[in-house]
């Protein structure tokens, strides 16, 4: 029975190209690791999974993705920190203005022709609803991103600028925007964009900041919540410890080679076993087990048990 409440968490069904992946590597937790992050494209590392409920064609299984990490880049011992986040679209505000027929509707304008080609299809009418806009301070010498400050795009439509007579002045014209699907400019309304009632919009004193002409911004989708994965590449775990305890082993009595095998009877480790004696008295001083760097393949388990 419906209880009047609803869940607000849904499995994301993004396209891999909607995400980008950043990786940081460090050899150990006592080291800061690499200075810069390594960026990967989402479509290179994320793979969609088919929904078994659809037997006629491919249908994405919401939420679950396979992360394919190239072993060549992820095989070193250490800690890899992987962040999967929505892809960023870098843009510049072409203009800030209002609509011709509704001067109270304020927004920012982007020129689609200045957007990276692979993102232009997202600038269709109302294709950016729900996207987040973050602002950059290009005058800053460091840390150009303005912290803790963002807006949400509530609508976007193709517009063109037109000279419109203002109602407050005689004969004064100003650029206002009309909807036109043939245009390459996009008018985005943002939230919040209304002035508080205590500081009405007169003189723009209370008007929330939406951006300025020429300001660089970052537009990001909100299709999924970012996640961080910490992968620790290790040489040993309970499996390799089990080799030493439960797998087959051999000791060559002729040359003192001690071999530990894995559960597939492949050589895992080999050691030289020897004794160090006093060269004058011949008294045994140490028994040594030393890891061999080169493998003696004659000690293969199949070879030994068939002797």
């Amino acid at each position: 029975m419906a209880s009047g409440t609803y869940g607000t968490v849904r499995p994301a069904d993004i396209q891999p190209s909607d995400a980008e992946i950043f990786v940081h590597y460090t050899t150990s937790r006592s080291s800061a690791g690499e200075a810069a992050l390594t960026k990967y494209k989402g479509e290179d590392l994320l793979v969609k999974i088919a929904n078994p409920n659809n037997t006629t064609g491919f249908e994405i299984f919401g939420g679950l993705y396979t992360l394919k990490l190239p072993a060549a880049n992820f095989s070193k011992k250490g800690i890899y920190t992987i962040v999967i986040k929505p892809i960023e679209i870098r843009a510049k505000i072409a203009d800030c203005g209002v609509l011709s027929t509704l001067p109270d509707v304020k927004g920012i304008i982007f020129d689609v022709n200045t957007i990276d080609v692979k993102f232009r299809e997202k600038f269709i009418n109302n294709g950016l609803i729900g996207y987040r806009v973050e602002y950059l301070d290009t005058n800053a010498t460091s840390d150009t991103k303005i912290s803790n400050f963002f807006r949400i795009i509530t609508s976007n439509n193709k517009v063109e600028g037109t000279n419109t007579q203002m109602t407050t002045s005689n004969g004064q014209l100003a650029i206002r925007y009309l909807f036109n699907d043939a245009s390459a400019n996009v008018f985005c309304t943002l939230s919040p964009s209304s002035a508080p009632t205590s500081r009405p919009n007169t003189g723009n004193n209370g008007f929330p900041y939406l951006g300025t002409m020429g300001q660089n911004v970052i537009i990001t989708n909100t299709f999924f919540n970012p996640i961080m994965i910490e992968i620790e590449m290790v040489d040993h775990d309970i499996e390799t410890l089990a080799y030493g305890l439960f797998a087959n082993q051999s000791k060559s009595l002729e040359d003192g080679v001690y071999t530990i095998y894995n559960f597939s009877d492949q050589i895992y480790k080999q050691y030289n076993l020897y004794e160090i004696k006093d060269k004058f008295t011949g008294k045994p001083l140490f028994e040594v087990r030393q890891l061999r760097t080169s493998i003696d393949v004659s000690k293969e388990f199949n070879n030994i048990k068939n002797v």
């Binding site: 009418n125 919540n225 620790e232 290790v234 493998i295």
Partner: protein, 317 residues
């Protein structure tokens, strides 16, 4: 933000084969499963914004000849320049593939409406609307219960009639499957699989309890669900079918939308209900309505009543 931790054994990437690859990493890929979620929030209702047509512009060419009334064309002609657009040529830009979810150039509003699929379902029978006045023939094929000429959602004139199309003289209570239509176009497709106007009903005879009725395609019903109908005059023993009209100009409009912030998170129109009923009693409608001009709130109405108003306080808080 959720942080996942995984420990991967490098040994699984290393070859232990008895060949030259022994001890080297031969695995090409490490596979992990990740689960992505999205926290959603409803922005609420949007506000339609009407499109305003662009001001009429002077065309660049008329009759494939430069139109000197166009300032740009006039300027170019004066300078002895000639371009194809001045003679009516257009660009060869290929429009993007049509997508009903997107607005693109060269598409009209009607391109975004989808209709034409058959919709079927179960309902109770409507035969009581087709009863004749004849004592011996309660239901008669061809009896027109209603006729009306109307315009459908596409603007096409329909000569609609409500009638029983088959079989001949069904007898109650043991009825054959009876096919009847409501305001379908009076043509040779009426009551057949090809009927595309009005609503078609097929009522099956009352079965025994728990008897399964097999619905076949003879009456144009493509949905082959079977149903069980108890012997009850109000039972669901009728299949209804019609051509779906979808969203169309008669039930919706397409326009640009904007988000008014006062409606953020509000998913339906606010409804205003009146909790104050002013009973004027026997007062004349010409009574001094200026008395109301001093009222600025409900409390004023209560104090100022002076037996002029009766306030129904049942719903006042």
């Amino acid at each position: 933000m959720e942080i996942l931790k995984r420990k991967i054994l490098r040994e699984t990437l290393i070859s232990r084969e008895n060949d030259v690859s022994y001890g080297t990493i031969t695995a090409a890929t490490i596979y992990l499963k990740v689960f992505l979620t999205q926290d959603i929030d409803d922005m609420g209702m949007y506000t339609d914004m009407e499109y305003v047509n662009r001001p009429w512009e002077t065309p660049a060419s008329i009759g494939n000849k430069p139109n000197l009334a166009n300032n740009l064309v006039n300027e170019l002609v004066n300078k002895g320049l000639n371009f194809p657009f001045m003679s009516g040529a257009t660009t060869t830009e290929v429009p993007p593939p049509f997508n009903k979810d997107l607005r693109t150039v060269n598409r009209v509003v009607s391109d975004f409406y989808t209709y034409g699929m058959q919709v079927t379902g179960f309902t109770n029978n409507k035969l009581n609307e087709y009863v004749t006045t004849l004592r011996n023939q309660k239901y008669r094929k061809g009896y027109i219960a209603k006729s009306e000429v109307y315009t459908n959602f596409l603007g096409v004139n329909i000569n609609g009639i409500s009638t029983i199309t088959s079989p001949n003289n069904p007898v109650f209570p043991k009825l054959f499957p009876v096919v009847y239509t409501k305001l379908g176009n009076n043509d040779n497709k009426l009551g057949t699989v090809y009927q595309t106007t009005g609503i078609k009903y097929v009522t099956y005879p009352s079965p025994s309890v728990n008897e399964t009725i097999n619905i076949d395609t003879a009456y144009g019903i493509t949905d082959l669900r079977n149903f069980i109908s108890p012997t009850n005059p109000d039972s669901v023993d009728t299949v209804i079918s019609y051509i779906g009209e979808g969203f169309n100009p008669t039930n919706t409009t397409l326009s640009a939308i904007t988000k008014e912030e006062l409606y953020f998170g509000i998913v339906s129109e606010p409804e205003v209900t009146s909790d104050v009923f002013i009973d004027r009693g026997s007062s004349s409608v010409m009574d001094k309505h200026l008395r109301l001009s001093e009222i600025v709130g409900v409390q004023h109405l209560v104090r100022y009543g002076n037996k002029f108003y009766n306030i129904n306080e049942n719903n006042l808080e």
